[in-house]
Amino acid sequence: MTKSEESKKTIKIENVVASTGIGAKLDLNEVIRILDGADYNKERFPGVVYRTASPKTAALIFGSGKIVCTGAKSIEDVSNGLTKVFEKLKAIGIDIPKKPEITIQNIVASADLGTVLNLNAIAIGLGLENIEYEPEQFPGLVYRLSNPKVVMLLFGSGKLVVTGGKRPEDAEAAVEKIVEELDGLGLL
């Protein structure tokens, strides 16, 4: 279906969140002393926030040794970001396992369906069980899919956001599904 392919071409990954761990406890005060550019407000947030310029990401380093990296625009960027953090920590003298497991927790992607959407009709057509559409509160329609297990925000302009996926294929599958369903209802 060309409509689905057109929409798939417009899929752009906006944010990737990954988590990993070094397996051992960290002394955060040590980390901020030596790592420059790191923020640590104990009362506000229990982790150190280390922002890298390239790739432009933010790494949250916790006392348990777990690290979360957000803000990356692609999966390679998030790996690079984490590798940079590991190198910095190694330089301080903290030992890091050879192959740390990086698990991607969330991928946020945006896409464009190309046409103006009638959100009211879509809300009724797709069934009010999986739909949240409160124009008084938020201009977008929230559609929770069970497989892939993602949440899609549809807007009146035809643009949409897919979030909650763990793989980039989830976003593609979701876009395909929504194009199929909307086409079936004749709302596209």
């Binding site: 009211n120 809300a123 009010l128 008084e136 201009p139 302009s157």
Partner: protein, 337 residues
């Protein structure tokens, strides 16, 4: 191995298809049975069946077939010729209502110290009656759940009165709240929050929507909290509420602005056209309604300023300005300022 898996998958999908078709058939049957409950004449299929109380017959109005004979009259066995007699003979009290925690079914001992024959009661029994009255009043709210329910329902009543809502909206809200209590959704939330959310849901369900702002004004909870609680409640209770249509707000805003019926119908017409052209997607319904009323008021000559309309609708002037420009452009309406 792969082939076996494929065959298994095909079988599974077919089984699911069969299950779906069975489910749909059952639903149709249920609907069919429901339709039969609203009786229709077995011969001509008409729905106009008349109760003939003189002969105790249920007769079809079209073909004259006697559908049911000797039906039981469910009224009282006495007759009354004026209001006082009826009050004296009647055995029933006020109708049952869900807006009181005991559903309106509890009773009180009358304050008059007279027995059923009209004689005064002895002083010993009078003291006893006084104690009985006190205990009867105390027992009415028996445990913590009922006390919370009573508090919540009084909150609902207060808010509904402040907003001037009709009886059926109050009943609906009370029913929604009771369902929430049954499903134990109140835990971890403020009672006022759930009551406000139930009221919001009831207003929407009865097609007299009140904006979250309006409910937030009369409630002790913030608008954001009410919205969040409402989303949670509607999800858990499975309340399928369609998004509010701007047309539902028009009568209220128009009467708030003292506009004639002509302006009102013009505004509704504009909104119909707008929804056909899909201009209302993603726009708050109050904003669109207010803009339509603004345009209608100009077109009918009975102008209201943007500020007045914005105040009645509870939105900003900027919103009206943006919306009315969109509407005027898309619907080719000329605004003569």
């Amino acid at each position: 191995m792969q082939e076996i898996e494929k065959v298994k998958e095909v079988e599974k999908s077919e089984r699911e298809k069969i299950k779906e078709s069975i489910k749909q058939r059952k639903e149709k049957q249920k609907l069919g049975a429901f339709e039969k409950a609203t009786v229709e004449c077995p011969e001509c299929g008409s729905h106009t069946l008349v109760h003939d109380y003189e002969r105790a017959e249920l007769v079809c109005n079209e073909c004259g077939l006697v559908v049911d004979a000797d039906f039981i009259d469910q009224g009282p066995e006495w007759r009354a010729f004026d209001h006082d007699q009826r009050m004296k003979r009647s055995r029933v009290g006020a109708p049952m209502t869900y807006t009181i925690h005991d559903k309106g079914l509890s009773t009180m001992i009358d304050w008059r110290n007279r027995d059923s024959y009209g004689k005064s009661i002895s002083s010993k029994s009078r003291a006893q009656l006084y104690r009985l009255r006190k205990w009867q009043r105390r027992i009415r709210v028996s445990n913590a759940t009922e006390r919370n329910l009573a508090f919540a329902l009084s909150e609902l009543d207060r808010m509904a009165s402040a907003l001037g809502l009709s009886r059926n909206v109050r009943e609906t809200a009370a029913v929604v709240y009771r369902k929430a209590v049954e499903k134990n959704l109140i835990r971890g939330r403020s009672i006022e929050g759930v009551a406000a959310a139930a009221l919001y849901a009831a207003c929407r369900q009865c097609n007299v929507p009140r904006t979250l702002d309006e409910i937030g004004e009369v409630s002790r909870v913030s608008r954001k909290e009410i919205g969040r609680t409402y989303r949670f409640i509607s999800r858990e209770l499975g309340l399928k509420l369609i998004p509010t249509s701007p047309i539902d707000y028009v009568p209220r805003f128009c009467s708030g602005l003292n506009l004639r019926g002509e302006v009102q119908s013009k505004a509704v017409e504009i909104l119909r056209q707008a929804s056909e052209k899909e201009l209302t997607s993603g726009r708050g319904p109050t904003g669109v309604a207010a803009a339509a009323i603004y345009i209608a008021s100009i077109l009918c000559g009975d102008r209201r300023t943007q500020r007045e309309v914005a105040e009645v609708a509870g939105i900003t002037e900027v919103t009206i300005r943006n919306r009315y420009k969109e509407l005027a452009e898309e619907l080719d309406i000329e605004i003569i300022l």
